[in-house]
């Protein structure tokens, strides 16, 4: 049995109008029917851009947001059915790591108070000195950190404190919401490596939510790509990169800059037009059709694509009517939505027509 199973999860935030007599005039569909499965000891990455609902999804899994519909089953227990004290008891098995390490720490709490609060909350009796030292050691902080306050630490160290708090109750599942995006580039790797090391030592299961596909790919076994409240593609990390099937994933991958001029100059970028539509009024049919460079006159705007497995790609789910044709090169992106490689004509071979680019849009010689 999987450790975490999410089925048909919806989180809709009502839009209210009126001051005295409030009435609901609509809903922001932050998460609109998401299915996920996370096996014990693995990492599922969730990527998407701001406004796609990935953070709301993470909180809803932990029952920190009101769930509109759907179920979250953790180790066989339906979390939605738990209330009050029962739910609070369950919380010690699933913890969270936040994006902004400073905002997620109470500025008035010393580090030792931060780390012992979970223990005290769950009825454990002190003294906790040994446990605090142990936790600090696990996340690579000196024991002297215990008596200091969050603002005395650097960003990377604060995130280590946040991680120490998350593992203090020996949880099984950790949901990390953009765990490195607020950190300086040179620090991000420290935290990524720490998360990986802890997973191995403590047998943790991760749900990592981030916008940086490179980081997510690095630490995840599987990746789910979200767009406007829905999952559009789920695949093992390597497959997703080698054969992105959904047009949004293709655009996302080709948009990420690679720190290598040789690669950059030979890339063909699929550019998206326009901006993210409102989640209060998502487009009909496929949510992505308003910006999709591969949009077809039929099906896209009136038929909602379900997540499905393509014959040639077992274990890889995609929600696109035309995924086969997009992948085979039969369908080409619309005019003007491709930024030609800088060196298209300067390359060693004359650029042939439409050699199917790989996940990065690299036009191979």
């Amino acid at each position: 049995m999987s450790l975490l199973e999410v089925r048909g999860l919806k989180v809709h935030f009502p839009i209210k109008k009126g001051i005295v007599l409030e009435r609901t005039v609509g809903a922001v569909r932050a998460v609109d029917g998401v299915d996920l499965t996370v096996e014990k000891g693995t990492t599922l990455g969730i990527v998407g851009e701001s406004g796609c609902g990935k953070s709301t999804l993470g909180r809803a899994v932990l029952q920190l947001e009101p769930v509109t519909a759907g179920t979250v089953v953790f180790d066989g227990e339906d979390l939605g059915a738990l209330k009050g004290a029962a739910l609070r008891r369950m919380r010690r098995r699933m913890q969270m790591v936040f994006q902004d390490p400073l905002a997620s720490l109470d500025p008035r709490q010393s580090v030792s108070s931060v780390l012992t609060e979970p223990l005290r909350t769950h009825g454990e009796k002190g003294p906790f000195d040994k446990r605090v030292r142990e936790l600090l050691d696990l996340v690579g902080l000196p024991a002297t950190a215990a008596n200091r306050y969050p603002h005395e630490f650097s960003g990377g160290q604060r995130q280590r404190i946040g991680i120490a708090r998350a593992i203090s109750l020996n949880p099984e599942l950790i949901i990390a919401d953009e765990p490195v995006s607020a950190l300086d580039v040179s620090i991000q790797a420290q935290v990524v490596n720490l998360l990986e090391e802890l997973q191995q030592r403590l047998g943790l299961t991760y749900l990592v939510i981030a916008h940086d596909l490179a980081v997510v790919r690095h630490i995840s076994d599987d990746i789910a790509v979200m767009y406007l409240g829905a999952v559009v593609e789920v695949a093992p990390s390597d497959d997703l990169y080698e054969a992105p099937l959904h047009p949004y994933t293709i655009a996302l991958l080709s948009a990420i800059p690679i720190p290598d001029p040789e690669v950059e100059d030979r890339r063909e970028r699929v550019l998206l037009r326009g901006d993210l539509p409102s989640a209060a009024d998502p487009p009909s049919g496929c949510r992505f059709h308003t910006r999709c460079p591969f949009r077809q006159p039929t099906r896209c705007s009136d038929e909602v694509p379900e997540l499905r497995v393509l014959e040639a790609f077992p274990g890889h789910q995609v929600a696109c009517h035309w995924a086969e044709q997009v992948h085979s090169g039969e369908l080409q992106p619309a005019q003007g939505s491709v930024a030609e490689p800088v060196e298209a004509s300067a390359g060693p071979t004359p650029s042939g027509p439409a050699a199917p680019p790989d996940g990065l849009g690299l036009v191979l010689p």
């Binding site: 851009e49 960003g155 580039v185 040179s186 990390s237 290598d260 901006d275």
Partner: protein, 346 residues
Amino acid sequence: MTTATTPRDAVPGQLAGEPLLKVRDLTVTFASRGRRAVRAVDGIDLDVAAGSTVGIVGESGSGKSVTSLAALGLLGKRGVQISGSVHFDGADLLNMPDDELRAVRGKEIAMIFQDPMSSLNPVLTIGRQITEILVRHRGLSKQEARDEAASLLQSVGIGDSVRRLRSFPHQLSGGMRQRVMIAMALACAPRLLIADEPTTALDVTISAQILELLRTLVAETQTALVLITHDLGVVAGLCDTVHVMYSGRIVESAPRRPLFAAPEHPYTNGLLASVPRLDQPRGIPLLPIPGSPSDTLPWAQGCAFSPRCTRREDDCLGGPPPLAPVGHPAHLLRCMHPVPTGERRV
């Protein structure tokens, strides 16, 4: 070592005559009463040739933004000491009267910032803000300015531009606002555009649109571009020359191909080794740079990066190492113990 061959890597101005922007020994010290003085920029030399693209890469606190602000006289006077020289097209920007400097800034040099919302006036329509620039700096009539503003929006990829001119900044998305900022920056056909983290606040697909826009506009209009960023990936595809800054000084600078093919400075190499790369197989371990950007040493006492450096030796602590050429004549390095070929992460 790879040598540059494509036209994009050639830096025309540096070989023939004076560069468009020439910064020499620029030093900026912030000193407010009751606080320790902070030297944010510590002796920067920078050349930007006409029509070239120059990247300045660094993390928070590296002084990358302060450099450009100081060069353009945008830091104010209180609590700031600026020394060195900044010449734009031969004119001395640091000793120029304020009104002349403002004219240069509006017309010849333009800037765009990370957060377009704070650079746009929230109570005026974007049309009003663009036409104002056109009327003031290019002397167009109201009607001409309106037509020109619409075509400027068109050129930065904003469709339905005549209607968009009536929008207020808050009615636009982040990517759209940054496009408006670029349109305003290009309104007077400046010869130099300084972009300070222009895409950091944007989502990756929007960021790709904006970078593509900058790339084509700069190529079409022959505007020189200084791109300030923390992201090595962004400069890799866009800049002719790259300067890597650490703690107020340039630690390595080179044309982009030699730099990325052979990063000699442990910091540059460390930055490259610490980010996962999509084009490389999964499972390559990340090699983080230890410590944090605030663990620096004053340059006077030695290499500021040495407290975090894995290649540190005793001689790193004898004053600042010089910025000297290595291999390629345009490849400058400030390090006593460069990373040997076998240990580079490329």
